[in-house]
């Protein structure tokens, strides 16, 4: 026993690392290495000589920050950011608003069919994004859509297409966010509400004065996740693109990365653009956290 104890003491320095090793190895292989490789690619470019057809007519060269300056000065990328900004504000407001509303309704004292409603709201989240986009896409097409028989709006036209895409994202995203908020609400001791009721508060006042402030950290969490997801919007526009001529191949920044990498075969520009996108997501997410931190967590 004593021998073992002393052995343990001697090796203690290495033990935590041993337990960390699997996570570290996985992180290195699947996160760090690809990121470093992307950064490496973003500094390079292929250079063709002559016709570019024979052997060795292509060489990879180092171009420094050329790809970055091209990415940053590309007007189409910024136009993409603008489109995503409009789309994102719409999605964030409607999706989180509905999620909050549903969570509060499900948690209220007078709710009926709670189990069914919870599953019904959550279910669309289980539908993969591509399937959801196709499903809605068919509903948007003029001659197939039952919506179009009632409503005479071109749902895939220039003005409406952003709303149509936001609708797909909202439909798929409300359930998840609702569940996060709802779970958070269930953890609140019921005695708070009793106390409030004795003080004469109604359901609406309880929701506004007690539930929402208690949920604030969860609301912020879902907002940050939603901001990140919105910046990376790709599935909805890419899936709807073949159905309409109002979505370009560079509608969102991530679509431009996909186009560069896999359609026009320029992995190097794509690498640089993805790093720019990652930087902007970081700034936006942390920026949001910074702004709201004091309000939400600053009581202590």
């Amino acid at each position: 026993m004593t021998r073992r104890r002393s052995g343990g003491a001697r090796d203690a320095g290495a033990v935590p690392y041993l337990f960390l090793a699997p996570a570290m190895v996985l992180f290195t292989l699947f996160m760090a290495v690809p990121i470093v490789y992307t950064a490496y690619l973003s500094l390079r470019r292929t250079k063709v000589s002559g016709l570019g057809l024979g052997k060795n007519s292509r060489t990879e060269i180092f171009v420094g920050l050329d790809n970055y300056s091209a990415a940053i000065t590309d007007g189409e990328l910024w136009a993409g950011w603008l489109r995503v900004l409009g789309y994102g504000l719409l999605v964030l407001a409607v999706m989180l608003g509905l999620a909050l509303l549903f969570a509060l309704l499900l948690d209220s004292a007078h709710v009926r069919l709670a189990r069914f409603s919870r599953i019904a709201v959550f279910l669309p989240y289980a539908v993969p994004g591509v399937a959801a986009s196709l499903l809605w896409g068919f509903l948007y097409l003029p001659s197939l859509s039952p919506i179009r028989q009632v409503l005479d709006i071109d749902l895939l036209g220039t003005g409406a297409v952003t709303f149509s895409m936001a609708n797909v994202a909202v439909w798929g995203g409300v359930g998840f966010n609702m569940l996060v908020l709802y779970t958070n609400l269930r953890a609140v001791p019921r005695t708070y509400y009793e106390a409030a009721r004795i003080d004469g508060a109604g359901e609406i006042q309880i929701a506004l004065r007690i539930k929402i402030p208690i949920m604030m950290p969860a609301i912020i969490l879902t907002t940050v996740f939603s901001i990140i997801a919105t910046i990376q919007v790709f599935t909805e526009p890419t899936t709807l693109r073949p159905l309409t001529n109002t979505i370009s191949s560079t509608w969102s920044p991530l679509m431009k990365v996909y186009r560069d990498a896999f359609v026009t075969g320029d992995l190097y520009s794509a690498a640089a653009t993805s790093i720019v996108i990652a930087a902007i997501s970081l700034v936006l997410s942390f920026g949001f956290l910074r702004v709201v931190r004091n309000r939400a967590f600053g009581e202590g």
């Binding site: 063709v48 057809l53 001529n245 359609v263």
Partner: protein, 435 residues
């Protein structure tokens, strides 16, 4: 106590590791002893031809030493992107179905093997024009032609009668017919211009005599904005603008429904059209017929190509000889060609393939001479050399024409955008260009 338990666990884990190592070192590796037997060569083949696995099974039966496995692909631009990515990653399939316009991109990415050895016999199986598509006008041979897609006009025979329209012989007549249809029934269009299908536009431009790329010496010339292309673009642009022709893309559920319901009366398409129509517009069976494309000048009989593909061998394949043997069999052997026609609904590029096409497709039972017509049309089809960045050009087509169709703006401006985008991309990559 906590720490102690950890130490025990770590000790046990280490002991197991050591035991494992020593155990392994005691047993000699079995693979090292036996010399590798000459097992069958295994080839993988990416293709989107229907029932290609059945055709490969026939080959596998007769060639136990070369076994081909088919991996079914989605086709189109995605398949090309997938192959380029796999080639770059170092694990491409041995054989790949490659559309003619993608060959220069594949070659430029060093993804295809030059199989010019032993091709003298194979070359004689194909027409000059088709063979030029796989050599890119160089001494090398980068693929073996499989099918071609000469373009023709598919039209609704019954509804042409109903609306009292003659089959248009020239594009002027086609435009007139388009206006007539709109007057007779505002819910019906004679046709639509698709901003999603650069391949179709290429075929129409080829018919008019366009030459988008050409090689002179060691440099490329890009002429996407040549007169024939601008003429074709503005012709369709005018019709879309005045509302005589629809602007919805092909191959959408919406388009299928329009074809199926008789709301679209024509489709300028390639010889592979019957497969699409029978699948997407089953109600039209026995009601569609083919005619030559309308001509720019009365009396001509010209056409272009939409699609068509070849079988190429990957540069990184370890079994190029076996792969070439299979590709040659598949595209020139009468038995294989027969299977391609019957099982794969392919219009073979091989000159002897035409003789194998007997009965008209089921869908065109109303037109028993379907294949004779197709062969006659095919004789007047002309192509052009494709450049090394077709993918860039095609993507530019989609974005520029999406916008042009939507805004009903001038189509030749979109052609100009394609030219500029293509040239800028080639310049950036360092290709030698002449003006």
């Amino acid at each position: 106590m906590h720490r102690n338990r950890l130490a025990v666990a770590v000790g046990a884990a280490l002991a197991t590791l050591v035991a494992g190592c020593s155990g392994a070192s005691q047993e000699p590796a079995p693979a090292a002893q036996s010399s590798a037997p000459a097992g069958p060569v295994k080839l993988t083949y990416w293709s989107w031809v229907p029932n290609m696995d059945k055709i490969a099974a026939v080959w596998n039966e007769a060639h136990p030493d070369i076994q081909v496995t088919i991996s079914k692909q989605a086709g189109g631009d995605d398949a090309a992107a997938k192959f380029l990515t796999a080639a770059k990653a170092g694990n491409p399939p041995d054989l790949v179905q490659a559309e003619y316009q993608m060959l220069p991109s594949f070659v430029a990415a060093d993804a295809l093997a030059d199989i010019k050895n032993d091709m003298s016999q194979t070359k004689a199986e194909f027409s000059e024009g088709i063979w030029g598509l796989v050599t890119l006008g160089t001494d090398a041979v980068y693929a073996i032609p499989q099918d071609s897609g000469p373009m023709m006009l598919y039209y609704r025979q019954d509804l042409f009668k109903k609306y009292g329209i003659e089959v248009p012989k020239t594009w002027d007549e086609y435009a007139e017919a388009a206006r007539t249809v709109r007057k007779k029934d505002p819910k019906v269009f004679l046709g639509t211009f698709s901003s999603k299908d650069p391949g179709a536009f290429v075929g129409l431009a080829q018919q008019a005599g366009a030459q988008w790329w050409s090689i002179s010496g060691q440099s490329w010339k890009v002429g996407i904005n040549d007169e024939p292309t601008k003429k074709v673009a503005d012709y369709w642009g005018g019709l879309v603008k005045e509302g005589a022709i629809d602007g919805q893309p092909y191959f959408t559920p919406e388009w299928n429904k329009a074809l199926n319901d008789g709301k679209l009366l024509t489709w300028p398409s390639a010889v592979w059209g019957p497969g699409v129509l029978s699948g997407n517009a089953p109600n039209g069976k026995g009601k569609w017929a083919i005619a030559p494309l309308p001509q720019w000048n009365a009396g001509e009989s010209l056409s272009g190509f939409w699609g068509g593909s070849s079988t190429a061998i990957a540069e990184k394949s370890p079994n190029k000889a076996a792969a070439t043997q299979f590709a040659t069999w598949l595209n020139t052997d009468p038995q294989a060609l027969g299977l391609l026609v019957k099982e794969g609904a392919v219009y073979p590029a091989s000159t002897k393939g035409g003789g194998l096409l007997g009965e008209a497709p089921d869908y065109f039972s109303n037109q028993p001479d379907f294949w004779e017509q197709a062969a006659a049309i095919s004789a007047g089809a002309r192509g052009f050399t494709f450049g090394p960045n077709v993918n860039v050009t095609y993507n530019a087509f989609k974005d520029a024409f999406d916008k042009a169709v939507h805004d009903k703006s001038v189509f030749s401006d979109a052609v100009q955008t394609m030219q500029e985008t293509t040239v800028a991309d080639m310049q950036k990559s360092g290709f030698q260009l002449t003006q």
